[in-house]
């Protein structure tokens, strides 16, 4: 069973109590995953930030091609603009739900403590799920998960870059 899980646990006993030298696997660097590009400096961020901390750009799509949904500081409310972004994609989301499952991933900026951020990301995902369910997508077809601050799309220090990370993504389920 353990072999099926990608996590590798080193021989901890040996690490702790023996004189072995440290054996480290290569550590993957940020941005190597396939689901979208990571901006290192935020230079290409086209939008701004509104008074609530929400990203105002129209760019950003999930790896399944649906529009990213942005939130304000510590917020998990979808405003009208974000609701319209979901509604624009709704026909394609409904079509996807008929042949597969949907996975909504909630994400946060790097500020705050991670445990709170994971819960905040989850609330964002749940808000999107509620909107989809209220528009006819079966709840049983939708899973929600939070990646907290572990999955940024932008790693620069500009406010708009942080705002792009306060988001939820709609993707095809696994």
């Amino acid at each position: 069973m353990i072999k099926t899980i990608p996590t590798i646990i080193s021989l901890v006993l040996a690490l702790l109590f023996s004189g072995c030298t440290q054996q480290r696997a290569p550590i993957p660097e940020g941005g190597q995953v396939a689901d979208g590009q990571v901006s290192l400096d935020g230079g290409e961020v086209t939008g701004g930030v509104d008074g609530d901390g929400k990203y105002t750009g129209n760019d950003g799509v999930s790896r399944s091609g649906f529009k990213m949904l942005y939130f304000g500081y510590n917020s998990y409310q979808l405003d009208n603009g974000q609701v319209q972004r979901v509604m624009g994609d709704l026909p394609r989301i409904a079509a996807l739900a008929k042949r597969s499952t949907i996975r909504i991933e909630g994400n946060c900026d790097e500020f705050g403590t991670d445990e709170f951020n994971y819960a905040l990301g989850l609330k964002r995902a749940k808000a999107v799920k509620a909107l989809l369910v209220s528009n006819g997508i079966p709840a049983a077809k939708i899973a929600v998960v939070s990646y907290g601050e572990s999955n940024p799309t932008c790693r620069g220090s500009k406010p708009a870059c942080h705002a792009k990370n306060r988001r939820a993504e709609i993707n095809k389920g696994r």
């Binding site: 353990i2 899980i5 990608p6 996590t7 590798i8 646990i9 080193s10 021989l11 901890v12 006993l13 690490l15 702790l16 109590f17 023996s18 004189g19 072995c20 030298t21 440290q22 480290r24 696997a25 550590i27 993957p28 660097e29 940020g30 941005g31 190597q32 995953v33 990571v38 510590n74 996975r103 790097e110 500020f111 705050g112 403590t113 991670d114 445990e115 709170f116 994971y118 819960a119 905040l120 989850l122 609330k123 995902a125 749940k126 799920k129 899973a143 929600v144 998960v145 939070s146 990646y147 572990s150 999955n151 940024p152 696994r174």
Partner: protein
């Protein structure tokens, strides 16, 4: 009266540990000590000197001379230039036949009398910092100062290495010894499973499902404890090791649960429709403190086990998103503007404590097992650092951690 006013104003302006006045007052009460390297000087033997100085400083009982000194280890005559010290600590570090040995002796500076001697050995050369910590904790005990055994403990922490990638590592408290023990994928929220640090809990994602694991550090055996959709975090372990405080979201709603190891049953403790996270046992297990946004912003609350009532603990700040507890004292991190997080103490009865930091990004506060010292992470443009604040001694230390972002830690 004017002098007292000046003292009070200085302390309030600069806050707790940034008040140099307080530290200078304490300095007069500490025993002066010089540390002398009796090894053939090497990079490691010089680092050992620095660790000795750090250990002695954070104990709060010694005023260690930071100057690097070296001389023969044999012979107990104290250099006349060191006679102003109360003690001289001499050490020799050797690496022979697969054994790394630290010899230590403490001399009374006034008369060169040897009052403590010790020999410490380890097979893993990377673990030399623990030899120093053991030596200093024993010297401290021999001189009948209050225990500082926490310096012998491991710190377990997770840090991000990329998107959806993080690893879990062990370190000594100075982070001179750092060892990756779990890597590949997202490995989050490590928490010690018992006071002796023989096991730990952590979260990993299995096919996208957050799963809580227990890892036995003696055998390397890993077992699944439980899992939850949305998120799962082990926030605290009861002192007897039999119950856990988990943040779970079985219905997509994050709440705090108490999980019984023996029965594998989880009891929901909070039911708020917003966010409840970071549960920590307090008041000898009679209450938990936790972070909730039930007033519209993250703040610290407590729940009484007997009555089930929830009350506000912290009446300061508008974004207090991390908490730890020892007895009836809590330490929390408060966001105070863009990029500023400060640490404060308070009490579970709602009374305020005191500020511990005054500027910068200070997060992840954790009490030592004796409640006298707080570990935290300080972020700045130079990178991360692990910091220690002695609540009784007013001593503070920072050790660099590099620029990878710390995800969480336990001590």
């Amino acid at each position: 009266m004017r002098v007292w006013l000046l003292v009070i104003m200085t302390v309030s302006l600069f806050g707790g540990f940034d008040a140099k006045l307080t530290i200078e007052k304490k300095a007069d009460q500490r025993a002066r000590v010089a540390v002398v390297d009796g090894s053939l000087p090497t990079d490691v033997s010089r680092k050992i000197h620095a660790i000795f100085v750090a250990d002695l400083k954070i104990s709060g009982h010694f005023l260690a001379d930071e100057a690097y000194l070296s001389s023969e280890y044999g012979g107990n005559m104290v250099d006349p230039a060191l006679r102003a010290q109360a003690y001289v600590i001499k050490y020799r570090y050797t690496q022979e036949n697969g054994t790394n040995t630290l010899l230590v002796k403490v001399l009374r500076a006034a008369n060169s009398k040897q009052i403590v001697e010790g020999r410490y050995a380890v097979s893993n050369p990377a673990k030399y910092p623990f030899l120093v910590h053991k030596a200093v904790s024993e010297i401290n005990a021999q001189l009948r100062f209050a225990p500082i055994d926490w310096i012998n403990r491991y710190v377990v922490f997770a840090r991000y290495t990329g998107r959806k990638q993080s690893e879990i590592l062990l370190a000594d408290y100075t982070f001179h010894y750092v060892k990756t023990i779990i890597h590949g994928g997202l490995n989050l929220f490590p928490h010690w499973g018992d006071p002796a640090q023989k096991s730990l809990y952590y979260t990993a994602y299995v096919k996208g499902r957050p799963t809580l694991y227990r890892l036995d550090l003696r055998t390397g055996k890993r077992t699944v404890v439980t899992s939850s959709t949305g998120m799962i975090v082990c926030s605290d372990v009861k002192s007897d090791g039999e119950k856990l405080l988990l943040t779970m979201a079985p219905d997509g709603q994050s709440d705090i649960y108490e999980y019984d190891i023996a029965t594998a049953k989880a009891t929901r403790l909070t039911t708020f429709s917003g966010i409840d996270v970071n549960g920590v046992y307090a008041d000898e297990g009679k209450t938990i403190v936790f972070v909730s946004n039930r007033l519209g912003y993250p703040n610290v609350f407590k729940r009484d086990f007997a009555s089930g009532t929830v009350t506000q603990v912290v009446f300061h700040g508008k974004n207090n998103n991390s908490v730890d507890a020892y007895g009836d004292t809590v330490v929390y991190s408060a966001r105070e503007g863009q990029g500023v997080f400060n640490l404060y103490t308070a009490h579970t009865d709602g009374s305020s404590g005191r500020p511990l930091t005054s500027g910068g990004v200070n997060q992840f506060p954790r009490f030592s097992p004796d409640g006298n010292t707080i570990l935290y992470i300080k972020r700045s443009y130079e990178g991360n650092a692990v910091g220690y604040l002695g609540l009784k001694t007013n001593q503070s230390l920072l050790f660099p951690l590099g620029d990878r972002k710390i995800q969480s830690l336990d001590w």
